[in-house]
Point group: C2
Chain length 261, copies 2
């Protein structure tokens, strides 16, 4: 009974996956807004009307793709973060940032789907909110951890050097009562800056706005990540550290730099 039920369910789940994969492939070729149910059906050699057995509408298929994309980039960041020593906060920041960029580079259209301009005529339902926060949570956690460990250095420019308006301060304080518990107000604002810088750089790179300005994106991105890590107060990543502490613990050293989820 349950054996055959799951058999049918398994076939069904496989087809759902195949449809999403075909849709992803099509999106990679033509862009998100060119996604067509008929083309997906064509690629799978089935009748277009049959797609409706698996997705009630085109929008729902889009939603599934968006959720998958958020999950994929979130998982990539989680995996990269988990590979680091827990108390190597600069390293964790760097690893998370690089994993996000790597994922974006490997899946440019999926990145554009979630971080580019919204698809016209599509309204993101509630279901996408939770997966969307996954990647953000990796970055937040690392800063919260650093704060808890007392490892956040006095930020420079010093907290008092750049005036922060009462409204901005209140806004930052609100966040310390939520996800960023215990984090210094100044650090909260710097985190927001670093967060938007990270995705701003990746978007600019992927959408072609660095053409003519930056050629070696890898190196400049790395420099930007280091700068922002220090800016937030995580300190610069010391090259020696990984050798002295990380390597000798027998962690996977040859982990691929590009994480594909």
């Amino acid at each position: 009974m349950s054996a055959s039920a799951t058999a049918r369910a398994r076939v069904r789940a496989e087809l759902v996956q195949e449809i999403k994969d075909a849709a992803r492939r099509q999106m990679a070729a033509e862009g998100a807004s060119a996604l067509s149910l008929r083309a997906v059906a064509r690629e799978l050699g089935m009748c277009s009307s049959n797609i409706y057995r698996y997705f009630p509408s085109r929008d729902q298929l889009l939603t599934a793709l968006i959720v998958d994309a958020y999950d994929a980039v979130g998982e990539a960041a989680e995996v990269a973060d988990a590979r680091c020593e827990r108390d190597d906060f600069a390293g964790r920041w760097s690893a998370a940032c690089h994993s996000i960029r790597d994922w974006a580079g490997s899946n440019p259209h999926e990145y554009a789907l979630v971080y580019g301009s919204p698809v016209p005529g599509y309204r993101a339902p509630e279901d996408t909110i939770a997966p969307a926060t996954r990647v953000t949570l990796v970055l937040i956690s690392l800063i919260v951890d650093a704060t808890a460990a007392g490892a956040v250095k006095a930020p420079v420019p010093a907290a008092g050097d750049v005036p922060i308006s009462p409204t901005a301060r209140a806004e930052a304080e609100r966040l310390t009562e939520g996800p960023m518990t215990g984090v210094d107000v100044d650090t909260v604002i710097r985190s927001l800056v670093a967060w938007t810088q990270l995705f701003g750089f990746i978007s600019f790179e992927l959408f072609g706005h660095l053409v003519g300005a930056v050629e070696k994106g890898d190196a400049i991105f790395d420099a930007a990540v280091e700068q922002m890590g220090a800016f937030v107060g995580l300190g610069a990543r010391s090259v020696g550290r990984t050798n002295r502490e990380g390597a000798t613990r027998g962690r996977e050293r040859d982990a691929r730099r590009t994480v594909r989820a």
Copy 2:
């Protein structure tokens, strides 16, 4: 002869403008990729085939809109920058950043058209490159000016505190031989960071990624701009300065904050 020729040409130019305006309005309602020649013609009460007297194809119309958008945001930044005292570099940075965000807020779909994910099936021709650099040039000029005036403060974290790879250094040096003549290598990299942060924040805000994290966008943006100004080495904007020097020179004080080009 030339009088009547220009008369006809003027009517023609007006219609070109009307078509672009209608297209912009439609874009604002439905998004860039939903732009339809037939809908534009419908709105103007003309035959769809007649659009072809003014634009040879849909792509050319899109290109015109892109060029206009780049020009508009570029002009907004230029105007904002020009209103500042030439040697108030922190003020110029702040004014330029705010003008860009204001423009984006007033013209979200035009912003998305140029800074969002590329429109599928559309390849930007050479014509868009020059207008695209206009807004960047405002930011670059202000940093070059500050450098020339010796006003760029020793950046913090200090230049040596965060290691910069040789590749990144070479890349930055290449820029000092081009548009950023004379600027310190460390400052070049910080400028790239600040530049991508600026657009990253605006994009996140406009595309809904700050929902749930930031409520008072104005205040947080302002704080971010100040932070980045100081990060680049332009110093924090002193509130007193505008009063002491700017106001007494009789410049337009009540200039609207939102620039519409």
